[in-house]
């Protein structure tokens, strides 16, 4: 298998036609190596979500191409988007069922995935009986139930409180390692990007293009509060700030 899991080549996306057309993405090229954790940061209007939807096949690019090298990808949203009529276990089971996994195997896989996100005790709870952080862990287990080796995450922890988010960073890092996942993690929070990513890709706004890339050399596990992390995050934050400033006319 190739070392490159996902290749994005000159992708553009235009919404609408004629004078009202909005260019969301222009000339985006990006490579995700197998097992890499890449964070995508950008201010509003950088087309981060659009890019993820293109990669997940929810939408098609206007130009350019997306290449998946024998990988299956799944997408996690800012909200868990679990089905409220199914229990935590039921949500995971449905993902397996839609992949035509036989019933007997589904049971054991569901149990294993719930154990992986440390929610075995909450298997029979429904989403509304779980906290926001727990729902996101179920959503992560469900994404993994798709047997995906590439996980696209659209600000999955954006709506969580700081303590929960901090714990989930550790948790995601652990699962990423155990499973050898390739992760593309979208956020507007530079600290979060530096905390998690092997690389941080900074996007421009309207249209979204790749402005720069920062390799994060710091050893793991990283602490969100550490001074080196804060310094790098501040530098990335400064670039985002400039991007917003440029649109101030």
């Amino acid at each position: 298998m190739s070392q490159v899991a996902v290749r994005v080549e000159g992708v553009a996306k235009v919404f609408g036609h004629g004078p009202d057309a909005v260019t969301a993405l222009r000339g985006i090229s990006l490579e995700l190596r197998r097992g890499e954790f890449v964070c995508l940061v950008g201010a509003s209007g950088s087309g981060k979500t659009t890019l993820l939807h293109l990669l997940a096949g929810l939408d098609t690019p206007t130009a350019g191409g997306v290449e998946m090298n024998g990988t299956r990808c799944s997408l996690m949203f800012q909200e868990a988007a679990l089905f409220p009529w199914l229990t935590a276990a039921g949500n995971i089971d449905l993902a397996l069922r839609l992949r035509d996994v036989p019933r007997a195997e589904r049971r054991s896989q569901t149990a294993r995935l719930l154990e992986m996100v440390r929610l075995a005790d909450f298997a029979r709870r429904r989403p509304h009986e779980l906290s926001g952080g727990m729902r996101q862990r179920v959503a992560l287990a469900r994404a993994l139930a798709q047997d995906a080796d590439v996980v696209l995450m659209d600000e999955p922890f954006g709506a969580l409180d700081a303590i929960t988010r901090d714990l989930l960073h550790d948790e995601l890092e652990r699962i990423w390692r155990e499973r050898g996942l390739t992760v593309l993690f979208v956020t507007h929070n530079a600290r979060e990007a530096v905390r998690l990513g092997d690389r941080v890709v900074v996007l421009t706004s309207r249209p979204g293009r790749v402005a720069s890339e920062v390799a994060v050399g710091m050893p793991r596990p990283r602490r969100t509060g550490s001074p080196e992390l804060a310094a790098l995050a501040a530098e990335i934050g400064e670039r985002l700030r400039k991007e917003v400033h440029a649109h101030g006319g």
């Binding site: 997940a56 929810l58 799944s74 997408l75 949203f77 909200e79 988007a81 679990l82 089905f83 409220p84 009529w85 449905l94 993902a95 069922r97 839609l98 992949r99 440390r118 929610l119 909450f122 709870r125 429904r126 989403p127 509304h128 009986e129 779980l130 906290s131 952080g133 727990m134 469900r142 798709q146 303590i163 929960t164 714990l167 550790d170 948790e171 890092e173 652990r174 390692r177 793991r220 596990p221």
Partner: protein, 285 residues
């Protein structure tokens, strides 16, 4: 990562989960049942009292408007007759057959129309129009087409209830959050599987409202039909009403009306129960 740190992470997660999902205890079953029942009993008592007052006021003579006492006594006497139960059974059977047919037709029509833009624009307002049309207006046509017959009654019950069921499902599908549909697509649900696993369950809570409304329409249409289409060897609640009026039997008339009212209310209570249970499961309450 060091094993020690992982253990620590596990403990942190368990601690956070425990703190976050503590739920307040629900009141006991008996208490909940009582708090649901007593307002209804009080309302019934109040209605009976009002009726008694009107009867006592002397506005109408007692043989035209008897009070609750004699009517309830008459109801008790009726209930000891086989003919009464035959009439109830025939009416309920018609209601059931007509309603089930209406649910099947309405749900199918709703499911097809809801997600097809062109069909929706073409047929959507037609369904709403049908729903507002008083079902009794269909009877002359139904009698012309099918004669004075069971089929005429079922036809009108079906037409009365099916649009409400269809509209309930269409409305339910419209209310599904787009995020859930996208989530289903990401999981690889397409076509029939998207309907079965995502769209229909997601639309269920509002759809139950449509089913309930459909039942109300079916029950009304049926009563209208039974008053108009009286078949000689088929006793029914509607036929009993008609005969009671012809014989100026006010007690029998009111006793039958109580039965019609109670059946409607009991079925409605069953729907409310299902509705509450579904809402609780779906996390909507």
């Amino acid at each position: 990562m060091a094993a020690e740190r992982l253990l620590e992470l596990d403990r942190d997660l368990v601690g956070l989960d425990t703190l976050e999902v503590a739920s307040p205890p629900r009141p006991s079953r008996l208490r909940r049942a009582w708090s649901a029942v007593w307002p209804r009993l009080a309302a019934v008592a109040l209605a009976l009292a009002a009726w008694q007052l009107v009867a006592l006021s002397g506005w109408q003579p007692g043989y035209l408007l008897p009070g609750p006492g004699p009517v309830l006594a008459r109801l008790g006497a009726d209930a000891r007759q086989a003919a009464f139960w035959t009439a109830v059974a025939i009416t309920l059977q018609r209601a059931l057959v007509g309603y089930v047919a209406a649910v099947l037709v309405g749900a199918l029509a709703g499911a097809v129309v809801a997600r097809q833009g062109l069909l929706r624009r073409a047929v959507g307002s037609l369904i709403t129009g049908l729903q507002t049309m008083p079902s009794i207006a269909w009877f002359p046509l139904a009698i012309l087409l099918f004669g004075l017959d069971e089929t005429a009654i079922l036809f009108v019950v079906l037409l009365g209830a099916a649009p409400a069921v269809a509209n309930g499902l269409i409305g339910g599908i419209d209310q599904i959050p787009p995020l859930l549909l996208r989530s289903g697509q990401v999981l690889g649900a397409r076509g029939v599987r998207l309907y079965r696993h995502v769209i229909l369950p997601a639309a269920l809570p509002p759809f139950i409202g449509g089913l309930k409304q459909g039942w109300a329409f079916a029950w009304r249409s049926l009563m209208a039909g039974e008053l108009l289409v009286v078949l000689s060897n088929r006793p029914s609640l509607g036929a009993r009403l008609q005969f009671a009026r012809e014989f100026a039997d006010a007690q029998g008339l009111l006793a039958t009306m109580i039965v019609v009212f109670v059946i409607g209310m009991v079925v409605d209570a069953v729907f409310s129960r299902i509705d509450g249970e579904v809402r609780r499961r779906w996390g909507l309450v």
